[in-house]
Point group: C2
Chain length 373, copies 2
């Protein structure tokens, strides 16, 4: 089992827990100080161009009736993770829940009332220690794939992602334990939809265009975002995002680029502020002559979401999504959508033939740098 | 691009369409005869132990006001698929929709009112021609993964799934285009949950226990089911299914084993009647001493689903799911669930340590053949 991170995580967690022991020894009531994971403690870091967690913190004290339960849960879950690290284990978040779950002695009270509670405590421990779930070797469901001119290494195996035929490499939850050995690519193309990813792989788009293809199959999981970020960090590759022309697609792009509110404490390792939106854009509809009957009527939910992306608080002047609301190009894009009330799927370009996407649209958009960012 | 199937598919489709031309020449009104894809034309084939499509068919006639639209759609979509096959293309189902979509000349009527209509027509063409979507090279989203002692081949590349480290191989939509070169395994373990699949891969369970691990990430897609079926057909491997102890898990097992109503016309290549349910079973709860507080209260929906699995029509004596209702072991299992009204997750075994699943539970269940089937 790979242990790239587990040694230091083990030490960090131990130090954190020892401070509790110290407090008890000093007869100070022990407590944890944890930054609050909530919308109103999530701020846009203009310098780094991503959502980050603010500095508002809560205390979780042992000697408070209201807080002692969460205090206990934080201790129990830290202990479970510590045990796993010591044993060289990589449990799932569900494993940790069941490991830490028990009826408290001489009561009929459970240590956790369900997995929502334990998942939240795991996130608190991430914020408390600065260790991410992945650093602590904790596994969760993942669903991304990668293919193209990139060689990975894991447990002594070299995995050449240009030699997987019509298949691809499933990005594992603990993707930081993969070494990226080499890359022979000019950019990373991140694709919303798996079927299009498979189609471009089948056509060996990545070989002809010297790139790497990644899909997160819709809203990306942590591992897919981390993989994209590593390619930017370690190989300085530009990253282009390909989604449908609709608010759902824009939101996927937004998650890759600036992070999400619920995981803002993770942005520094997941967000890719360098990412550009390749398309499909509203102006592509005219530029590439997509027939009118190939467009889809926007739903009320689409309209509502699009308006949110441009929302600016009148009192504070603060945009909810500054990377949309403060960008002239995005304003044009989203307002065009709100005017036309029409959306378009990537595949609508198949009106011009099955290879229009791979042979005309993508190379042209990339060579002319026709992006929104 | 691999073309294992496309030549013959091309011929079959051509022959089918030529019969329409023949009919026109003979001044017979052209028509398609297509077996009906519906619950009441889905039957359980006792000999092959799977759901199959019955013989009730409908006619789709050119000279019927009620049927001419569907007739036209069947022609248009057949033509789109034919064009793709001729061009050596593997379009997605969405690509086909947009390719075949247009406003009918001199009207304002669209050839398809949305993708639901075109998806249904693609399924009709599968039934009509006996060619499956995959035979016709049509790609859709997929989400399964495989790892272990198996070597695949695709486009001249050998893919050794025992050399992928903590990652795995994403099973592509057109998985019949993969060649399975060799297998050094005694069984296939199909796992409901991706995180458990990753965990067992991390522990190299497949190496220690000489097997192949597959996950469909919940309800499996066609490609994952096809891959499992090929391992049974081509290598005579037994297949064990690992899910939670709840009606949702049983239904996943059921889909692998006997097929689904909506895809009953596909069962002959997807269903695995040889599959055994490994667990987690209701009796495992006592046998493996899962603490009471590690069980989850069943919801009303769970109870309703469990009752459906045992449902037998009073008039006809016909079970809806004969592989459950007519099995003594499954009756015991499901009735135990209905009595206790409790369900259990696979991970609940982590109460006994993080490696209880891999080192005790799975090897013991398999060596004692403690299955339900």
């Amino acid at each position: 089992m790979s242990k790239l991170y587990s040694h230091s995580a083990h030490e960090v967690l131990k130090t954190q827990l020892e401070s509790v022991v110290e407090e008890v020894k000093n007869k100070t009531p022990p407590r944890f100080r944890i930054r609050i994971r909530s919308l109103n403690n999530t701020v846009y870091d203009e310098k780094h161009r991503m959502l980050v967690l603010g500095n508002k913190a809560l205390e979780r004290r042992f000697n408070s009736i209201a807080e002692v339960r969460a205090f206990m849960q934080t201790c129990l879950m830290s202990r479970a993770i510590y045990d796993a690290l010591k044993g060289g284990d990589h449990p799932t978040i569900r494993d940790l829940y069941y490991y830490a779950l028990h009826t408290i002695e001489k009561t009929n009270i459970e240590s956790f009332n369900g997995q929502d509670e334990s998942d939240a405590i795991i996130q608190d421990i991430e914020v408390l220690t600065g260790l991410l779930r992945e650093d602590m070797g904790v596994v969760a469901d993942s669903r991304g794939s990668i293919v193209g001119n990139i060689v990975l290494e894991s447990k002594g195996n070299k995995i050449d992602c240009s030699r997987l035929g019509i298949g691809s490499f499933s990005i594992p939850s603990l993707c930081d334990q993969l070494r990226i050995n080499s890359v022979d690519a000019e950019y990373v193309l991140v694709i919303e939809k798996d079927a299009i990813f498979q189609r471009l792989n089948d056509l060996e788009y990545w070989r002809k265009n010297k790139c790497i293809l990644v899909t997160g199959r819709g809203q990306p999981d942590r591992a897919t975002r981390r993989m994209a970020r590593r390619l930017i960090d370690e190989f300085k590759l530009p990253m282009y995002v390909l989604t449908d022309a609709d608010p759902y697609g824009w939101y996927i792009y937004s998650t890759y680029k600036a992070g999400s509110v619920s995981l803002s404490y993770e942005s520094f390792r997941l967000a890719c502020p360098e990412a550009s939106f390749l398309g499909m854009s509203m102006s592509d509809i005219e530029k590439y002559d997509i027939p009118k009957d190939h467009l889809i009527k926007a739903s009320d939910m689409d309209i509502k979401r699009a308006k949110e992306l441009l929302y600016v608080d009148e009192k504070t002047g603060q945009a909810r999504y500054p990377w949309f609301a403060e960008s002239a190009k995005w304003n044009k894009e989203i307002k065009s959508f709100l005017r036309k009330k029409l959306k378009a799927e990537i595949e609508s370009k198949s009106a011009h033939g099955f290879r229009f996407l791979s042979d005309v649209y993508l190379p042209e958009k990339i060579s002319t740098r026709d992006f929104i960012n």
